[in-house]
Symmetry: D2
Subunit: 424 residues, 4 copies
């Protein structure tokens, strides 16, 4: 399915008057309006290929209809999102779920939708049917060198696929860890994992990055071998300049101050990328901004502060990706909501009066600092994000148009109501 | 110190043009504008007398200057807040910190500031110099009947004070519990506490309520004898129709869904009141809305839904109070920020399209339900709350005026820079 | 496979000398030795039919070999456990995974192994292939009466199966809840769930119990409609005298004091049963006693205290069951370890000097109370539990014998190495 | 007060028969008995000077009687503990609470009790009466260089005191952080703190260590500038070879795997010391081993594994200290219970069959690994620890003798019942 340009324009036309009124009222109070708009237009959030179907838990999965049945249809889905919001201009592939049969045709297809290929994702947390060794007791941490070698080899293959497609980074998420006290020698597990990662690192092209993702728990319930930002940073530092830490919002212990972690990783020059989602209890993988929108804003506040201090380009110098699971919503609607929430948080953070904030901090004026942050957060920036979308050719309200075009209905017609996308 | 009406009017005059512009743009999209405004004007949040000085932790306390030295000065402070925001029209007293020497003069003073007397608070978690028995091992739960009797008697005295002042409710927060396994027989502690509460209940006037506050931990670090809403509800049910549960936002285990608790307590007809504050880790007692503003909104969403379902009056049928600690901010600024955040959350929740939300729920349209809630939350309702304040005679931006009038400076001049208010 | 009596006796014979030496040294300090032994012999922990195969997470599952392929083989597995430890004398069935084709032959088979049928478990958290309505948005809470009816009907069928087999209770675990704010009206969800449960309750035979299990989160990640003990107790009270709360150790928010909950539920006469497992983060479903053995002991301490106060029979008046997931261990070994840990905790709790503890509590002698509890916990009661097992006809060290008999190897030979048991 | 040797011997004499019986039964199964005993005798845990009086919370403090009124009496108290358990052979001082007036006489006094001086502790989390600048907004992180300088200077003075007394290390615990989003620039706070620490580091004698303690929260409730092990390790690495991380068991987010942190810090050669206590919710500062004794054992398991791998001396190469608060128990009894729990955990960890454990790990034999750990933990090692104490000249059961000698009563007679020790 394809959303024709004219349909978006038609839709925007009828919604424009109200939009303009709201935008004008808002813009009157924004000094750096054009700069903010520019940045919003440039900002792109990659969509993971596995988030296009219904997710589930160990207790069950309730698939919806019209889910993509192939890599091509996954690209088509991201293309639909990008047509609507013009902020989802990349797809992040997962191997082995998305092994491309023909690189050129896949690249051509993506280009037709205006999509690039973001970080490649490897999988050593599941056993594939044709696999020699099991990852039941870990992959890169495994006591058996042959298993480790298999995991390393798999990652190198993922890099190969990525090179062909034009990706520039590899995200390694390891579920390695242990379920019970005594199961692992923590130190040896760390060192074996490090050695494995070093072999993968050696296979990275010169202009690639490797992202070492951490996670506090699940699927291992006693220890995780890349368990927190401190461990990830240890690996990244020992690996070398192409290695970075990747932060997934759901991968922390309760009450963790993620925005501080972000700031410190940027300080160390070791923040590589981000997985957006939201959660209340664990790695709940809910829609970004659906539970703690203020936290999302505070994280963007630190991202901007830290990236600006290092003169980094917001749009290109970090990897931005959604990593959510869609258990009870239409995945495409859920992704549109996530992207919207991320854009709103980014826009609000761009409105923070940084000079005034810095001055309040220097004065220990805590109440003022809070006023400044909350003034930005309380601003209704929806018109601003909509305007950026409008200028880029997207829809003023993507989810509204998605529904009025009955996209899901069309997809079910095309693909059937009993499809199940690969993924979790 | 007193803030003269004309100063507020002068201030509002110069800020009005911008306010009107923003309000008009906002109001265009609100159907029930006048009704919302009315409700915002009516809504009053009581200020606890102990929150007017600097708070601290076991590690230290850093007092600011100009803190109130007497009950009279505490009333004066709340009067200042109320003059500025017209939403703090009551004070909640704590005995023994605020024993009135002359009821009539205290009542007259409060009336001059337009203040009423909210719930009375008893204290059986500290030993007073003249006290016969120690509360080291609890008060109403104590193994020794004499200690329990002392605690009961104290509460009855608190009720007496309240009757004189025109209060209509007693809040009982018990720190009773245990620090170590084995210290307590949980069942007996519950039953002794219940018996003690029954004696207090028997002393309640016919038109009074008793609020049984619960708290998960601190100052006891193993168990608390009124530890969660389930326990509080057990007590309230066993006590009778005048007994209710009081919810303090900081008194839960990590990740608790407080809004669901609110909804169920309203369902049972047993929600009595609220202590507002915010927290990241425990009972941090931070400014309301400073950490999790979306949670605050969701709680108001349930409050409105549940109160409307029972045809309760928002302003008068529940006890609304701030309970925060001001460790690093000017307490009055902190309280202005808390009240503002509460009013904003209330205003946003009033904007929720309840019919549409109800329909989305009936359709299992989860994405739509989220859109509806977030549409209200993302609305910048600051002009709405400011307008309500303006109409009631308050300042368009209370904290800005507070600063421009140099209220703290004046208080320090009057009271000195080394005062320490009673409280925690 | 069957473990012949003589093999157990042979094994015990060679291990007996050491056992006797240790037992004698231990017994010298135990006053109520025979009484304790009696209680240990009587205590039986039911094994859930779904715990006999490898479990997994949403990220993957790594099956072992020789898993039971049918209800008959599940009974055989529990029979093996019971032959070894004589403490696993019941099986708890799950419908639809364990629908018996012929009640009589199943009952005869179970009787051959000395097994009874514990609580029946219904399943309205997954969609079955032949199911009319989906539980995607809940079952008993569902907005659609037809879905609720289907869920009620299923539970009534489960009761029918249970009656045929001689079970006396139904455990209802509902995954009902919501993933996002706004998705549910909490109050209506509660009331619909209550009405559904009332219909099930009406179908209970006179001598049956219904256990209402609660869980804080997962698979729903925003709210759960039976979310904590307070909610479960509300349902149980509204349902009537046959309804009870069931406590699963992994179903709480972080840091919850479960032993206090146990004590209060016993106080209210509403504790019905227990699901044993252990966890560090969430519902990790790890081996009982593998993470927090002291907590397990403290729970048994309250169970004994509270049951004795109500003159309840330890072995028969509550439902005792393991509910764990075996992701990285042989399920049968894992279950042997769980049962052993539970028996040890029970034994230690039986050794608590209750008179002295009660006296220390009355004296507020906190240090002494701790000494008393820890004296029991620090006692090495393994010989005691082994002796109980020996007298009942089990093996001195079940897991050691299990390994030396190569039970798993035999099961793989019989059943194959690629079997996958029904369950999570 | 002084406990004469002969009183201990008398007491031991009457308790010896039972002890010997139990010890003999235990020893029969221990291969490395003499080695274990040696290590237990050598192991010493420092007592902090501030733990000798009653602690409290922000809600109150309930002092007991006979608390030490001076540094001399604090040393006397630790001397009493050490006389009883022979495992508390050092005191850890806190400046400014324990400024020695005459170094030589203090050293002589300590020597009389067989005590050394462990790590010195500085205090920049409170304002002292004579202090020029306030630490309200931090100390080493402070935006004002003059405040930072004051904090640095204070630490250098603490080092001077320590040099005079023969201490060899400085523990720096900073409460620096923020209570609200926006209050701090995290990066600048880190960098200012690092610079301050570097100045302190420069003042360290060649044979000294500096321990950088981390803490997740409290007294700051939004961020802490040395907030977790990752941050502490960053500081320690940037400071140099004399800088180490110090782990306090209560300073983590909920559910943290502390034993893994310990293992990794040892791997990095950066674990410096330990503060023992226990907790259920936050930094509850409860008696070591009173809530999670298995966790304490698992930590010792990693300590031994990691120290042995680096050929470190258990007794001397790390700093061991209790850091607890005694709110409801006699502080000396509480400390005796803590030391006992630590010694038991250490003894159990020494019994772990490391060869077998390592083999099980290499085989991915998870059930076996758990059996090995739990076999050690389930062993009743009280006779072993008692025997070590006996040989070192201590009491078989210190707390029993403490009570029978009525030590607290004697102290109250000497010091009065209304004393309050300096400390929290």
């Amino acid at each position: 399915m394809n959303i024709e340009k004219y349909k978006i324009e038609e839709y925007n036309q009828q919604a424009k008057a109200k939009h303009v009124r709201k935008l004008e009222s808002l813009v009157e109070d924004i000094n750096n309006y054009h700069e903010v708009l520019e940045k919003l237009i440039d900002f792109q959030i990659a969509i993971p290929s596995w988030a296009l179907g219904s997710g589930g838990t160990r207790f069950g999965r309730f698939p919806g209809g019209g889910e993509p049945r192939s890599l091509e249809e996954k690209i088509e889905d991201v293309g639909l999102l990008h047509a609507l919001n013009q902020s989802s201009g990349a797809i992040s592939l997962h191997i082995p779920w998305d092994v491309p049969k023909n690189y050129q045709s896949i690249k051509t297809l993506a280009a037709q939708y205006g999509l690039g290929f973001d970080a490649m994702n490897s999988n050593t947390f599941q056993d594939q049917p044709d696999q020699t060794f099991s990852y039941k007791f870990g992959s890169m941490q495994h006591v058996d060198a042959a298993v480790r070698k298999q995991a390393v080899q798999h990652n190198i293959e993922v890099i190969q696929h990525g090179i062909e497609l034009g990706s520039k980074s590899l995200t390694v998420w390891l579920s390695d860890g242990s379920c019970f006290p005594g199961q692992l020698n923590f130190r040896k597990a760390f060192q074996r994992t490090l050695e494995s990662l070093q072999e993968v690192y050696a296979a990275l092209p010169a202009d690639w990055k490797i992202f070492v993702e951490y996670k506090a728990f699940e699927p291992n319930f006693y220890s995780t071998t890349v368990g927190d930002w401190g461990q990830s940073l240890l690996y990244a530092n020992k690996l070398g300049p192409k290695a970075y830490t990747l932060v997934d919002l759901g991968h922390h212990l309760p009450n963790a101050n993620i925005e501080q972690i972000v700031s410190l990783l940027l300080m160390e020059g070791k923040l590589g990328g981000f997985h957006f989602n939201d959660s209340k209890y664990g790695d709940d993988d809910l829609t970004a901004g659906s539970i703690k929108p203020y936290q999302l804003f505070l994280i963007f506040n630190e991202l901007i502060e830290g990236m600006d201090a290092r003169k980094m380009n917001h749009a290109t110098d970090l990897g931005w990706m959604i990593d959510a699971s869609h258990n009870v919503k239409d995945p495409l609607e859920d992704l549109l909501q996530s992207v919207e929430a991320i854009m709103l948080a980014y826009a609000q953070a761009l409105l923070v009066d940084r000079k005034a904030l810095s001055a309040a901090q220097e004065d220990n004026d805590v109440a003022k600092a809070q006023e400044i942050l909350q003034a930005a957060f309380r601003t209704d920036v929806r018109p601003l994000v909509a305007e950026a979308r409008l200028r880029a050719g997207g829809a003023l309200n993507p989810i509204e148009l998605y529904r009025s075009l009955n996209v899901r209905g069309e997809l079910i017609k095309e693909r059937g109501s009993k499809t199940v996308a690969t993924g979790l």
